[in-house]
Amino acid sequence: MANLKDKSALPAYYPEFYTFPPFYTRQPNAASWSSQLSQWRSFILAYCRAHKLWRLNLADTMETDLFYNKSINRKLPLPTIREVVDDLVKSSNAEWLSSEKSIAYIYWRTPEDFASQIYSWIDETGQKGTVLTLLELTEGDNTTQQEWYGMDQTMLVKCLNVLVKKGQAQVFSVGDDKGVKVW
């Protein structure tokens, strides 16, 4: 079995217990579970951030490094994954797409943060008052460096709504696409 301690090969944000087999079994003991839960929460957020994942499709990611450690052949069972994501939802770090809880938005940065980032970027690039299509924002070649590059449309709308509520922007549909004007 790979030496449990040697985590040097793994990226920094991997949890300390990543190679600890029981990490993949929902612990019955309350104290152990609270530490297991917090490690899984931060791992999911960090993983999505590193891989720029806006949505977490539980079925797909079951086999990825996130929930499946091939070297020790351990997988986090689906019900436990749901339990962790539910906890993320409670602290508004996630949101289920639909009731059968198969896909969830993961806010590894809260919509408010994204909103202010977008606002200041538009301000710096002097595009205040001009209409920008959502696609431009997420796939435009001048936003490649931004954290929200490639963000999911529906999620982008959620972030822009924050600005709308603050009265700093207005979202409207341009043909079948959607545009936003920020002032």
Binding site: P28, N29, A30, A31, S34
Partner: protein, 590 residues
């Protein structure tokens, strides 16, 4: 007379001014006015600070605690009687000669709260309004610019320069200050002579109006409801206020604390040291008189550098002072400072230390001889107690403490060591400073920990706050043991498992048990059906839940729950999920 009554902190220690620091403490001290002993002030502790000499009597400290401003002292002498242990045992004294301020210049800055006829000692203030607020309230002037209520500096007088406002730094003009001073004590001017004489002239004041905001308060109130200003004393002829007779036979001219034959002019005060400590007290007094820190009050607030040596107290006042001063310097010297020092030490290269080990060996063997010497001296004393007079025992415990011998393997018992006066005084002062540290509202440590903190956590937090010169666990333990003796507002408690916890004095087992059981009932009444098992037998909880509910740490939560279990009111359910607690169906409350 210059002696004035002062307020005490919850830990029965004198309340210090913002810029005042404690220099020295000595117990077993008595007060003399001129040649006359002052009754009720014969057995207490003298606190020397940079501004004042305070005296707190051991019994009824709240009533018998006074202070003498150092600026009123012209000169002082140390008098050590020639034959100390002769028949007429007179103890060494320090005489303080007062500045011949002309008596007519009445001491307008009387700081004592005006004496209300009902001579009730100030009830210990409920924890919420600590004396800090009540003291600051009664002497304030409002800055015309930023309306910040500034405290009067202790030395304000006609000749002292005008203090700037603490927030905006603007100096008000003198007329405002005089108006405040005069308006504050109108009664006194009328009758001229003594400040705390109760024979105020029967001036008809409107029903208990507040001098500052003219709000008419209820007759019985002593602090104005609106602005908290201390109300001047009640008109005499108010029938409802029963005037107890005892205050009547106070000496007619109570200019002095004690009874001094009328007409005699007293110009000096004496402190008699029955328990030793007069030499260090004298040195520190000399230092204080030379520095004359009280003159610094006018200067802009110099950052309060915590003077090293005897300053044990982590006084809440200091923490208040630091926000105003620039970034507190001692923080850098603190724990992070130690970490930086480690860095410097690490750079140091490794010298050959073989020689050091041999010398160490030699040193240690000599230490062994001395310990053997001390041990058979102790056994000798133990064998014939008649020989063991006090100074022999003192020398023994002193040497034991200096060698910091481990009491267990040394014949002198632990309490014998701590009985030596200097050691127990050190622990008493430490205990008081910790009690104040816990009672300090800005940190509200006890509140955050739900009223109970383990001794280990307290030790870690207290040392983190000190930053430097950390206190040893055994000192904290001895200090904690004195909490009861000194009737401090906190007490040390040992749980079944041996865990030591510091707790608010009013928190008894019954109260905690009742609140836990009530909480369980409340949860069960919510009839939440999360697990089937719960509904028939009510709701069960984990230590974690109790910790969240009552704000305890996990360790304290487990101990409190086990305490309630010990009383039979709770039963436990251990599974690999951990320990769940349920209300006991078998418990029949007596």
């Amino acid at each position: 007379m210059a002696f004035r009554r002062i307020d005490l902190t919850p830990a029965l220690r004198p309340l210090l001014l913002p810029s005042e620091t404690l220099l020295f403490v000595q117990d077993a001290v008595g007060l003399y006015e001129g040649r006359y002993k002052v009754p009720n002030f014969q057995n207490g502790s003298a606190y020397l600070t940079t501004h004042r000499v305070c005296f707190v009597n051991n019994d009824e400290p709240r009533k018998f605690s006074v202070a003498l401003e150092l600026k009123d002292v012209e000169r002082f002498e140390l008098y050590i009687p020639f034959f100390q242990n002769g028949f007429l045992k007179s103890s060494p004294k320090i005489t303080l000669y007062l500045r011949p301020s002309n008596p007519s210049l009445l001491d307008s800055r009387d700081r004592s709260t005006s004496r209300s006829p009902t001579y009730s000692p100030i009830p210990t203030p409920p924890r919420s309004s600590t004396p800090l607020q009540s003291a600051a309230l009664n002497r304030q002037w409002i800055c015309p610019i930023c309306t910040f209520p500034n405290p009067f500096p202790s030395n304000f007088g006609h000749l002292a320069p005008i203090p700037p406002c603490l927030t905006c730094g603007v100096k008000p003009n003198r007329s405002i200050l005089d108006a405040i001073v005069n308006s504050h004590t109108p009664a006194k001017h009328q009758n001229g002579i003594s400040d705390d004489s109760i024979l105020q002239a029967g001036i008809q004041r409107s029903k208990n109006a507040c001098p500052r905001c003219t709000f008419e308060n209820d007759q019985a109130l002593r602090n104005c409801e609106m602005c908290g200003e201390v109300l001047s004393s009640h008109p005499i002829d108010d029938p409802s206020v029963a005037r107890p007779s005892p205050s009547r036979d106070e000496s007619p001219a109570p200019r002095y604390l004690g009874s001094v034959p009328a007409g005699e002019q007293i110009d000096c005060v004496k402190l008699s040291f029955r328990g030793g400590g007069e030499k260090p007290f004298h040195e520190k007094l000399k230092g204080a008189m030379v520095q004359r820190k009280w003159l610094l009050d006018q200067a802009p607030a110099v950052p309060a550098i915590t003077s090293g040596a005897a300053n044990l107290t982590l006084d809440p006042r200091e923490s208040e002072a630091s926000p105003r001063t620039p970034a507190p310097t001692e923080r850098i010297v603190g724990v992070r400072g130690l970490e930086r020092q480690n860095l410097a030490l690490r750079m140091n290269n490794q010298r050959a230390i073989a020689g050091a080990f041999e010398d160490l060996e030699a040193l240690m063997s000599r230490a062994k001889e001395i310990i053997a010497l001390a041990e058979n001296f102790a056994t000798q004393l133990a064998d014939n107690p008649s020989l063991a007079n006090s100074d022999a025992r003192e020398a023994l415990s002193q040497s034991a403490a200096m060698l910091s011998l481990r009491p267990t393997d040394f014949t002198v018992t632990k309490d014998q060591i701590s009985s030596s006066s200097s050691l127990s005084l050190y622990h008493a002062e430490l205990a008081r400073s910790i009690a104040d540290f816990l009672a300090d509202d800005t940190r509200s440590i006890l509140k955050k920990e739900g009223g109970a903190i383990t001794l280990v956590d307290l030790w870690a937090v207290y040392n983190r706050a000190r930053g430097i010169e950390l206190i040893s666990p055994s000192d904290l333990e001895s200090a904690a043991k004195l909490f009861d003796k000194l009737q401090l507002p906190v007490r040390l408690r040992q749980f079944k498992s041996g865990l030591l916890v510091i707790q608010e004095r009013n928190k008894t087992d019954e109260k905690v048990a009742k609140s836990v059981v009530a909480w369980l009932d409340e949860l069960s009444d919510l009839e939440t059906r999360d697990t089937i098992a719960d509904n028939k037998w009510g709701k069960s909880v984990l230590a974690k839940d109790a910790a969240e509910k009552f704000g305890w740490s996990i360790a304290v939560a487990i101990e409190e729950l086990e305490m309630v279990e010990e009383r039979g009111e709770l039963v436990r359910d251990t599974s690999f999920e951990g320990v769940r607690w349920w209300k006991s169906p078998w418990y029949i409350s007596e």
